[in-house]
C-alpha cells in the first residue's frame, strides 16, 4: 500500500519533477559553459611572417606651360627676350665697353713761375705805406697741344713765396685777373716780414681764364706790394723774387682745344649663351642684326674705327668668322654733344643685306667680338672743345636675333644633379609618361641619360629613343603663325635589371635634338604667345617581401 501510495504520488508529481530535473540540468549546463572557455587555437607571434607587400604608387611630377622665357631661362638668365610690335620674340644680347674718363686721359702737370723784379721806394726813410704793382704773365705748359680758354679746378694747390732784401714789412696781394674762385675774383695775400714770406692756398672752385691771343695758355697775374714804412732806413732799390706754383691740379671741366689723343677701349665681347650648351647643328637666323652704338660724352670730334668684328665658336670644332661688309662705316665720325653734360649717339647696324652677319652666326658662335677705337680732333684745332672730368666714350654692341629662320640638327644638352639613392631593390618597375602639347614649330627628340658622378652613362630613359616633341605646323608666309598645337604622349617602363642601373645615378643629362618644322626646311617664326605644355608623370611598383617587413 505504502509503495502504491508512493508510486501514485510519484506518478502525479512526475511532470513537476521532470521539469525541475530539466531545470537543474539546464542551469548546470549554463553554469558550466559560463565557467569554462575553450582556447581553439594558439599563435606564437614571434614566428610571424607577413605576405608580400606590393604597393603601387602613381602621381604627377611636372605640369608646366612653358613660354620662350621659361625655356631659355637656364640659358639666358642675364640676357633679354624682347617682343617686337608684331609679338614676335627675339633674343637680344648686348655688351658695352667704356673708354677712360677725361680726367684719366688728360693730366695737368704742375706749373711754376719764377719772377724777379726791383722795388724802389722814393724818398728817404719810409714811415708810411708805399704800394708798388707788378703784372706778370704766367704761361702754362700743357701737353698734347692743348689751348685752354678756361678751366674750372676741383682740386689743386697754389704756392706763392717771396724772397727779398726789403727791410720793411710788406703785404703782397696776388690776384688773377679774369679768374675767379667761387665766383669772385681770385685774390691771395702774402705777408712779408724780414727776408721772405710764403702762402699755400687750395684751388677748389677756381676758374682759371687763359688768354691765347699771343701765347697759348697765358694766365695773367697781378701783384700789389704794399710796403709798411716803419722809419727804418730806405735802402732802395730792393730785389723781389716771386716763386709761384700751381700743383696737383684736377679739373672739373675745360673749354678750349684739347688736342689729339687716342681713346682706347677694351675688347667688347658679347656672349651668346644660347649656344653655350649646343653641341652641333645649324641655325639659320633669317633676320639677325648687329648694332654698334657709340655714346660720346666728350665735347669734341672723334673719329672711330671698327678695328675687328668677329663671331667666335669655342665649343666643338672651334671657328672664327670675321664680320665684314658695306654696313661697317670707314671712316666713322662720331657726333659730339652740343653742350656740357649731354651725350651724343652715333650708330651703325649690320644685317644680312650689308654684311656677312648671317654667315657668322651660322657657326653657332658662343661670342661676338667687337673692337672699336677712336681718336680726338682728327682735323686738328678747328672746333672748340669742352670736356668734363667724367666724360667718356662708350661703345655698345647689341645683337638682335629674331626667332625667324630654321634650325637643323641642333643639339642642346644640359646636366642636372639628382640622387636616385643607392638601394633600389624595392622597385619592381617604374613607368614614366611624358606628354607634350607643342605650339612651337620645332620637332624634338629628347633623351635622358642617367650618369654616375664620373659622368659614366648607366642607362637612358627612352629605349628606343622616341620623338617626344612634334612640331606644330606654321601658317603661311609672311607671318608663319601656328594656330593649332600638336600633342604627343611617350611612355617608357624601366624594369628588371634596368632599375638596378639607376642605382648610383648622380646626374641626368638631357639631350635634345631639335629641328624646326619640316626638318629645318621651312621658315618659322616664334611668337610670344607660343607655349609648350609638358606633363611628366610616374607610376612605381614597389615590392617588399616578408624579410623586409
Amino acid at each position: 500500500m505504502k509503495q502504491m501510495l508512493w508510486f501514485f504520488c510519484l506518478k502525479k508529481n512526475m511532470p513537476v519533477m521532470k521539469v525541475k530535473i530539466l531545470l537543474l540540468i539546464s542551469v548546470f549546463c549554463v553554469v558550466t559553459l559560463l565557467m569554462s572557455s575553450c582556447v581553439k587555437e594558439e599563435f606564437d607571434m614571434d614566428t610571424v611572417s607577413t605576405t608580400n607587400w606590393n604597393p603601387n604608387g602613381a602621381g604627377p611630377l611636372i605640369n608646366s606651360s612653358l613660354t620662350m622665357w621659361d625655356i631659355l631661362d637656364d640659358y639666358d638668365s642675364t640676357d633679354l627676350l624682347v617682343v617686337d610690335s608684331n609679338q614676335m620674340v627675339m633674343l637680344v644680347y648686348e655688351d658695352t665697353v667704356y673708354s677712360q674718363s677725361a680726367e684719366e686721359l688728360i693730366t695737368l702737370n704742375n706749373q711754376t713761375l719764377n719772377y724777379s723784379d726791383n722795388l724802389s721806394i722814393p724818398g728817404g726813410n719810409l714811415s708810411t705805406d708805399y704800394t708798388a704793382s707788378y703784372d706778370v704773365d704766367f704761361d702754362f705748359t700743357l701737353a698734347g697741344g692743348m689751348e685752354l680758354d678756361s678751366m674750372l679746378l676741383k682740386q689743386g694747390l697754389l704756392n706763392l713765396s717771396l724772397n727779398s732784401d726789403l727791410n720793411y714789412p710788406a703785404t703782397i696781394i696776388m690776384s688773377l685777373p679774369g679768374s675767379t674762385q667761387y665766383g669772385t675774383t681770385y685774390r691771395d695775400t702774402l705777408y712779408y716780414s724780414g727776408t721772405s714770406g710764403s702762402i699755400s692756398r687750395g684751388l677748389a672752385g677756381t676758374k682759371l681764364v687763359f688768354d691765347n691771343s699771343v701765347v697759348s695758355n697765358r694766365l695773367s697775374v697781378h701783384f700789389d706790394v704794399i710796403v709798411h714804412g716803419n722809419g727804418a732806413s730806405n735802402n732802395s732799390p730792393y730785389f723781389l723774387n716771386f716763386n709761384m706754383g700751381f700743383n696737383s691740379l684736377n679739373f672739373r671741366y675745360m673749354y678750349g682745344y684739347l688736342g689729339q689723343f687716342d681713346l682706347s677701349l677694351n675688347n667688347d665681347t658679347i656672349g651668346i649663351r644660347v649656344y653655350n650648351n649646343s653641341l652641333t647643328g645649324t641655325v639659320n637666323w633669317e633676320d639677325p642684326r648687329l648694332h654698334i652704338n657709340v655714346y660720346n660724352g666728350w665735347g669734341l670730334p672723334i673719329r672711330a674705327t671698327a678695328d675687328y668684328l668677329a663671331a667666335v665658336r669655342t665649343n666643338n670644332s672651334p671657328a672664327t668668322v670675321v664680320i665684314s661688309g658695306s654696313g661697317i662705316p670707314n671712316p666713322w665720325n662720331i657726333s659730339a654733344p652740343a653742350s656740357l653734360g649731354q651725350i651724343a649717339t652715333t650708330s651703325f647696324m649690320l644685317n644680312k643685306g650689308n654684311s656677312n652677319i648671317d654667315a657668322a652666326l651660322n657657326i653657332t658662335p658662343q661670342k661676338i667680338l667687337a673692337l672699336v677705337s677712336g681718336s680726338t680732333n682728327p682735323n686738328g684745332n678747328v672746333t672748340k672743345n669742352f670736356v668734363e672730368d667724367v666724360s667718356r666714350m662708350a661703345v655698345e654692341a647689341k645683337l638682335e636675333l629674331p626667332f625667324y629662320g630654321t634650325a637643323n640638327g641642333f643639339i642642346i644638352q644640359d646636366t642636372f644633379e639628382i640622387d636616385m639613392g643607392e638601394d633600389l631593390d624595392h622597385i619592381d618597375w617604374v613607368l614614366f609618361k611624358l606628354y607634350t602639347n607643342n605650339m612651337f614649330p620645332v620637332d624634338g627628340t629628347v633623351q635622358l641619360y642617367f650618369c654616375d658622378s664620373l659622368n659614366n652613362r648607366l642607362d637612358s630613359l627612352l629605349n628606343p629613343i622616341d620623338q617626344a616633341l612634334v612640331a606644330a605646323t606654321p601658317g603661311a608666309a609672311p607671318d608663319y603663325i601656328v594656330t593649332s598645337p600638336v600633342s604627343k604622349m611617350v611612355s617608357q617602363t624601366i624594369s628588371g635589371p634596368r632599375v638596378q642601373n639607376l642605382e648610383g645615378t648622380k646626374k641626368v643629362v638631357v639631350c635634345a635634338h631639335l629641328n624646326t618644322y619640316n626638318s629645318g626646311g621651312s621658315l618659322v617664326k616664334i611668337y610670344s604667345w607660343y607655349k609648350l605644355d609638358v606633363r611628366l608623370s610616374a607610376q612605381v611598383q614597389l615590392k617588399f617581401n616578408s624579410n623586409d617587413l
Binding site: 539546464s26 607577413t50 605576405t51 602621381g59
Partner: protein
C-alpha cells in the same frame, strides 16, 4: 495547411539577404513572450503575464559588442611550417566598404506593466541607453596596402571614419489594445533626456587618381557634432561636481515613438510589424562642432609647375601649395546646438505554433543608421516546460556573421523570473590565444624574456548578453484564454 505553408513562404521569401548589420538589442528575446521586456521589440506583443515589476537596474541589463570587419582568422593563420602568417590581402577581402566596431549597453532603471481586462496593456519603463560605434573604411586599408596606383580612375573613400556615441535616458509610456481577435495595436511614447553625444554627420575625405596623368584629387567635408565631450575633457572643471551635474542633465530633450501591430493569421500563425525608436534628441547643453572650413572643397595636385618655381622660387611654390592644402582641409570649431535622430528599427516577425509547447519564429530586422539600412535575420525555436522554464535556441545572420547560434532561458521561481539570453552563445567561449616573448628587466637590471599572452574571442563579430530579474504575476493563462501568440 496549404494556407499556412504559403504564408510562411511569403514571409520567409522576404528574407533574401544576410547583409551586414549591427544589432542594437538581442533578437532572441523576440520569441520569449514570457519575458516582459520582449514588449520592447513590438508594443503590440502584449506579454503573457498580467503584470510585472522590473526590479531597479537588474530587471534588464543588456550589453553587446562586435566588429563586423575582419575576423582574426582572416588575418592570422599558420602555415605548414607552423609559422604564423599575417595575410593582409585576406583581411582586406573580408572587409566591406564600411566596417564597424561597436559597444552598447541598455539598462532598465525601473519598469512595470499591467493588463486591464485582457484588452488593454499599460507599460512604463525608464531605461538608460548607451552605445559607441566607430566605422572605418575599407578604401583606406586598400590605399595603404595596394597604393593609389592600383585604383586609377577610382575614387577612394579614405576618410569615412565615423564615430558615434550616444548616452541618453528614456522614459517610456506604452499602451497596447486588442482590437479584435485578429489585430492588436500598440505604441510607446518616449521622453528622452540626452546626456552625451558624438555624431559624425559627415566625414568624407576622398582620393582620386586620374588614369592618364595620375593627377591626384583630394576632397574633404567634415562635420562632427559633439555634446558634453568638451566638458569631459576639460581638466579645469571639478570633475566630481561635473559628474553629478552630468548624471542629472535634462537640457537635451527629445521624443521618440514605438509603434507596433500584430495580426493573428490563424491559430498557428501570427505576424508582427513594429517601428522602433522613431524620434530625435536636441543637443543644447554643451555642443561643439568640428566643421570643415571649406566643406566639399577639393584640391588637385597635377605636378610641379617648373615655370612658377623658376619665377618665384621653390619656397614660394611650396608655401602656395601648403596654403591650398590648409584651405581645403582646415577644420573650424563652432558651438551650435544640433539634433540627432534615433537609430530607427523596423521589425517584421512571424510565429508558427507547432504545438502548445513548441514555437518557431522568424525575425527580420532593419536597422537604420549612417544613411544605410542594416538588416539582420533570425530564426528561433522555443520550447515551454510548463510555466517555469522556457528555453529557446536561435540561428541569426547579423553583423556579417553567419554563425550566430543563440540561446535563451527564462526560469520562474514563484514570482521571480530570471532570464538570460544571447544571440551568439559560442562567441564568448571560443577563443584564440596569441603569445609572444617580451624582454623585461628585473630589479637588478638583468634582462630576461617573459611570455606575454593575449586571448581574444575567435569570432568577435557579434557578442551580446541580456539578462534580468523581474517580478511577474498572473503568468498562467486561464483555461479559456486564447493567448495572443501561444
Amino acid at each position: 495547411m496549404k494556407k499556412t505553408t504559403l504564408s510562411i513562404f511569403v514571409f520567409v521569401a522576404g528574407l533574401l539577404m544576410s547583409l551586414v548589420t549591427t544589432a542594437q538589442n538581442d533578437m532572441v528575446i523576440q520569441g520569449m513572450r514570457i519575458i516582459p521586456q520582449s514588449y520592447y521589440s513590438n508594443p503590440a506583443f502584449i506579454p503573457q503575464c498580467r503584470w510585472h515589476i522590473g526590479l531597479p537596474v537588474i530587471s534588464s541589463a543588456y550589453i553587446g559588442m562586435g566588429h563586423n570587419g575582419f575576423k582574426p582568422k582572416n588575418v592570422i593563420s599558420t602555415n605548414i611550417q607552423d609559422s604564423v602568417v599575417l595575410d593582409i590581402e585576406s583581411m582586406l577581402n573580408s572587409m566591406k566598404k564600411n566596417n564597424y566596431v561597436f559597444l552598447e549597453s541598455n539598462v532598465d532603471i525601473f519598469s512595470f506593466g499591467f493588463k486591464i481586462k485582457d484588452k488593454h496593456y499599460i507599460n512604463v519603463a525608464a531605461t538608460e541607453h548607451a552605445f559607441a560605434r566607430a566605422s572605418y573604411p575599407k578604401d583606406l586599408m586598400n590605399f595603404a596596402f595596394y597604393g593609389n596606383g592600383a585604383f586609377l580612375d577610382q575614387t577612394l573613400d579614405i576618410g569615412n571614419f565615423r564615430i558615434s556615441e550616444n548616452h541618453y535616458r528614456e522614459l517610456a509610456f506604452g499602451y497596447s489594445y486588442v482590437y479584435d481577435s485578429k489585430w492588436t495595436f500598440g505604441a510607446r511614447a518616449k521622453i528622452l533626456f540626452g546626456m552625451s553625444n558624438v555624431n559624425t554627420r559627415r566625414s568624407d575625405i576622398t582620393l582620386h587618381t586620374e588614369g592618364e596623368f595620375f593627377d591626384i584629387t583630394a576632397t574633404s567635408d567634415l562635420l562632427i557634432n559633439t555634446n558634453e565631450i568638451d566638458n569631459m575633457s576639460d581638466t579645469t572643471l571639478d570633475q566630481k561636481k561635473y559628474m553629478k551635474d552630468y548624471l542629472f542633465l535634462t537640457k537635451n530633450k527629445g521624443i521618440g515613438m514605438d509603434l507596433g501591430a500584430s495580426y493573428k493569421f490563424d491559430d498557428k500563425i501570427t505576424f508582427g510589424l513594429s517601428i522602433l525608436d522613431f524620434g530625435f534628441i536636441s543637443w543644447k547643453s554643451n555642443p561643439m562642432n568640428l566643421v570643415s572650413k571649406n566643406p566639399g572643397g577639393s584640391f588637385t595636385f597635377d605636378g610641379l609647375d617648373v615655370s612658377e618655381i623658376l619665377e618665384n622660387g621653390d619656397s614660394a611654390f611650396l608655401q602656395n601649395l601648403e596654403d591650398s592644402l590648409i584651405d581645403i582641409f582646415e577644420v573650424d570649431t563652432t558651438y551650435e546646438s544640433y539634433r540627432t535622430s534615433l537609430n530607427t528599427r523596423i521589425h517584421a516577425s512571424a510565429y508558427y505554433k507547432v504545438t502548445e509547447k513548441d514555437q518557431i519564429s522568424a525575425l527580420l530586422r532593419f536597422h537604420f543608421y549612417d544613411r544605410t539600412v542594416h538588416p539582420s535575420f533570425s530564426l528561433a525555436y522555443m520550447r515551454k516546460f510548463g510555466n517555469i522554464l522556457h528555453l529557446t535556441g536561435s540561428y541569426s545572420i547579423t553583423n556579417r556573421n553567419y554563425t550566430n547560434f543563440g540561446l535563451g532561458m527564462s526560469v520562474k521561481f514563484g514570482a521571480a523570473q530570471l532570464y538570460v539570453l544571447s544571440d551568439n552563445i559560442l562567441a564568448p567561449f571560443i577563443w584564440n590565444r596569441y603569445t609572444w616573448l617580451e624582454e623585461q628587466e628585473d630589479q637588478f637590471g638583468s634582462t630576461y624574456w617573459e611570455t606575454q599572452k593575449l586571448t581574444l574571442p575567435r569570432n568577435w563579430k557579434y557578442l551580446n548578453l541580456h539578462f534580468g530579474l523581474n517580478l511577474v504575476f498572473g503568468c498562467k493563462p486561464p483555461k479559456d484564454f486564447t493567448p495572443i501568440i501561444e
